[in-house]
Amino acid sequence: MCDVSKTLWVHVDVDAFFASVEQLLIPALRHRPVIVGSGVIASCSYEARRFGLWAGMPLHEARKLCPQAVVLAGSYPIYRCFAEHVWDVCRRFTVSLETFLDEAFGEATGMERLYGRPDELGRRLQRAVAEEVRLPVSVGLAANRMLAKLASGLAKPRGVMWTRPGTEADLLAPMEIGKLPGVGPKTARKLRDMNIRHIGELRRLSRAQLRTMFGRRGELLYDRCRGADTQPACRLRTPRTLSRETTFHRPQTDPAQVRGMLWYLLERAMRSARKLRLSVGRVELSIRYEDWHSAVASRTLTEPTESDEEAFEAASEMLGRLHGRRVALRHVGVVLSRLTRKRPGRLFEPPAAQRLRKLHHAVDAIRNRYGHAAVISGKSIALLGRLERNDYGFVLRTPSLTK
């Protein structure tokens, strides 16, 4: 009989998500190397990975390594639907679920009473997804989120791994130092210079030493290398941020195109915020030039807003400030943060603001029914005729999903 009093976390990761969906939709792609992405690989099938391809690799390099690969731009609205279906299945096996695009964390404490030992729970979850959605997932189970994620990574592809209580240290010790959450390339380099190559070796350093080297993050690393998760086991009800970004089909110099795209991304993100009944307190803008130089700026709004226009005013002002070089832009993105459930005060709302609010809600209702492309705002009209459209809006080169 297993001990059901212990906390149990599940991490579910869809294997080669976008490529797996494409192989499911188009039988001719099964057992063939498939790449989804444009510019860089967003996802590639395991058949493609055998040729040394990996997500993030530039497409021109991928084509050299695997000329027979089928390259698809991808359809992100379809992937979102499949992800939701997978998460619906996962919810049956968990008491709470925090979802991302291709992975989810779930708390499953006590669910062993229904599904047996944690590894059996994982296998049943995996089988249910395979039968109902027909997508492969890897499942990691452990006493905390960090270990569950590391376990699903080790189980890939199509695997289930349960880290039994008491074996956490053994699991972590031989892993390469860069695998530890919180250790980025720079930190990993610094640690390797100190001859710390594996997570187990990091335990030689005291809490004080790590704090001296990396500040507050050092303390987190001290706990994490011992298998203790520092992330609160919260159940996210309000997202921390909503973001939209894209790469232009070709580097862009036309200010109307850049502003049109900025408005389009922003109104999509704001629509998502309104759908979640959230007001936005901060807007962040990021741009990347053709030569890969990038710049970021953010602005806190005087009051949280639901209005596209107020958010755009802030973003537009930042764009004017940031885009100072005479170099084409390849990428633009917005992040909305400080999201609150608090609605802006309505008692003394000026009539113009009231009219705008009603307009947004009317346009949202039309778009909810007929798709985002049913209404094109004048501010993004410069994109009309330049970009293809479907029900979901303009077909972007690297469409991103709000999460």
């Binding site: 499911l24 188009i26 001719a28 792609l29 639907c81 909810n368 479907n390």
Partner: protein
């Protein structure tokens, strides 16, 4: 592989039994196509009323069909020729 976006209304013969929708055949461009296999189905719940999507196989060709449950209308979204 050739992927062609069609986005046209079509007439579909479908089965609505046991709480499940199954397209059986469709008429497009004056020709009838018999669905040999449903490769996958997915539901878009982002709109007011769910939209049911199907990837169906007709010979070597894969067709993406869409059923708008609010308007009770079918569309042919896409054709993939391997």
């Amino acid at each position: 592989m050739n992927i062609e976006r069609i986005d046209e209304p079509i007439r579909v013969v479908a089965s609505f039994a046991d709480g499940e929708v199954r397209p059986l055949s469709f008429r497009w461009g004056g020709r009838d196509y018999r669905v040999e296999r449903i490769n996958a189905r997915w539901t878009d719940r982002d709109a007011d009323a769910p939209r049911l999507h199907f990837s169906v196989q007709v010979g070597e060709e894969t067709y993406y069909l869409q059923f708008n449950t609010a308007e009770v209308r079918w569309r042919l979204d896409q054709l993939v020729v391997a």
